[in-house]
Symmetry: none
Subunit: 214 residues, 4 copies
């Protein structure tokens, strides 16, 4: 228990040009994507990052923490980006399209990152719990809030739980990203998929006049 999260992180940029923490994360993404989390040796990350094995432990609690940090860092970026975009967008539909584009767009040109996030993240039960981390929940909450607002203004059907719809969106996009990762199509495929998914998703939740879907 009593996990002291967040390593103090030696005030970076001391001897070398780039931020060491960042270098390690980038190296980890590379090797995790290649061999998977469990098959990756800490020494491989160190080698790829050009640091000593022990240095990793100056910036991360342990190997798990490296993977978690990759996830957290990206989710953090997603959240920041989305908070800006959703406040700029005029309508609920636009907001949701933004979210979809951004979540998939983050992976464009970073297939390795996509693989780590979609595949490796579930390889440890510890990480699985992290999956329900505050940060991840914040992200889901952000989506759910947009949906709830849509329901309030009457543009989104209100017989479905916003949380469930948020989860469904995350899962759907995650599945698409996984498939793209395994499949090996170009970035354009991902962009097309994003468009179609947005189409499908909006149709699924939009409020309709007098209609019975059954």
């Amino acid at each position: 228990m009593a996990e002291k999260r967040e390593k103090p992180a030696p005030k970076s940029r001391s001897r070398d040009g780039g931020d060491k923490r960042e270098r390690i994360l980038r190296a980890a993404i590379k090797v995790f994507a290649k061999h998977g989390f469990y098959a990756t040796r800490v020494s491989e990350i160190a080698k790829e990052a050009g640091v000593a094995d022990g240095t990793i432990y100056l910036y991360f609690k342990n190997k798990d923490d490296v993977l978690i940090s990759i996830f957290d860092d990206r989710i953090r970026k997603l959240i920041e980006l989305l908070e800006r975009l959703t406040s700029e967008a005029k309508t609920t539909e636009e907001r949701l399209r933004s979210i979809i584009e951004v979540q998939l767009g983050l992976f464009e040109g970073e297939r390795e990152l996509a693989e780590v996030v979609t595949v490796n993240l579930r390889q440890s039960s510890k990480l699985l719990k992290q999956y329900a981390s505050p940060l991840f929940n914040e992200y889901l909450g952000l989506i759910a809030r947009v949906i709830a607002e849509g329901q309030a203004e009457g543009t989104v059907r209100d017989d479905l739980s916003p949380r469930l719809l948020a989860r469904a969106m995350w899962g759907g996009l995650d599945g698409i990203a996984l498939n793209w990762t395994l499949g090996g199509g170009g970035p354009e495929k991902l962009r097309i998929a994003a468009k179609q998914y947005a189409e499908f998703y909006w149709s699924g939740i939009v409020a309709r006049a007098a209609e019975n879907t059954h």
Copy 2:
């Protein structure tokens, strides 16, 4: 390398009730689902199965082989079950609802299969790429086929890729199942979620007369 697949498999069903191979597989599903593939010790499987550690190696080449065998045996059964259900159902909508219920493990006795699909699928990248992927594609293909048939008969809109919609469904359900697993609500929660998801999904793909979703 030099993989000599298929163990001789001691002429099953000797004197104990179910044959041992089956008992081991069942035990493995149970513990894999609980702790994940990597965190599961071979000795745990043995204990759960009520056999000695060494016995596992009479039926399986190694630990990996146990997981692979689960996919070979079980997912195939899951696919068969789905094929039967989808052929029995009258309409596309009913077929899709069946799939949703099956994947979420709502058919009694099939919960373990659901867990294998949602939890274990991503646990070994090697596996994912080598063995699981083809099978997984078969599973996705089955969903896609149902959707394509819907498009052919005009009940499903035809401007969206069936494959993409299949992936979206799988991902969405996977997310919901994972959330449910971590959250700890009762089975009724899952059933409600299934209903809502089906509602949402069908709305998202159903063909509509003269309508513009934009």
Copy 3:
């Protein structure tokens, strides 16, 4: 916390003649005595015992547990032996002489054991706590009881705490053993020391008629 003490100990004597647990303990005494607890590698113990590294962990929880077990095993022997001897002895004086002889006598011909018990035992704080272990207290209690009985029957002065006198005896004998260990005299030296110590000890605690020690 929740330390599950006592390893199940694979029902010994399977493949080899001698009890493996015993062999490991004997080997550990040897190498601990030579290099000290911390400087001793687990692999050295294994090598000396002629077993694989991992085998150690079938019989002991960890390296600490090996040292603790040495201590516990010997104290247990001491207690058993002493309980017999003290019930056989006629007088309190004889009982105390027995204790002294036995505690030092246990080391006769086992200089290495003496070194481990007197020197190495304090090398780990975990062990230090063990020092206040039930077993050790039982041993001290046994000595204290003999003294208290002497006080009750009037042969031992009753203005001194039996516990303190017990501790003083243990410490004194431990100190003598340590010195003998470091010094390097023969076993006869230890026997002479035992006799003199008994002499001194008894004089220190015997009840005297009308006398003032001040």
Copy 4:
């Protein structure tokens, strides 16, 4: 090997209050007492002393050297103190009481030093044999000398070896101190114990007119 003893010791007492070497030693006593020599990290000493890790190495060759220095510095002080006290005391009995009080009393205001002396002394067999032993012998010799003088003047029975009696005293007091350390009673407990032990000890060695202890 190739031990270059004695670090240059930066010209002490620069601008900060006490000189740094002393601060480090004091800090080391504190943490050694708490965790033991091996479990203490150099960085902990540094932190406690309020200096950087590297600074330790400006004043001491290595971690071992810190422990050795504690003994060199402190035990020497203990010996000096005892030499003064024993020359001031009038009778042998008083001298021995002084020693007992000092050995236990020294610790009264310096429980931590007590722990280092009693507990840590045995933590490094290398240390014990190399450095501590000569000094320790000097300390024992001091006690033995007092006893021998008592024997010469006829106040102490002369059928017991002064060295043995010295060892017995040290061991007995060490045991009492250890017990007190682990037990956690107040300083008064220690003072009472000292009194009782002195009582017992003197009774054990005092020369008696025509008496037979058997």
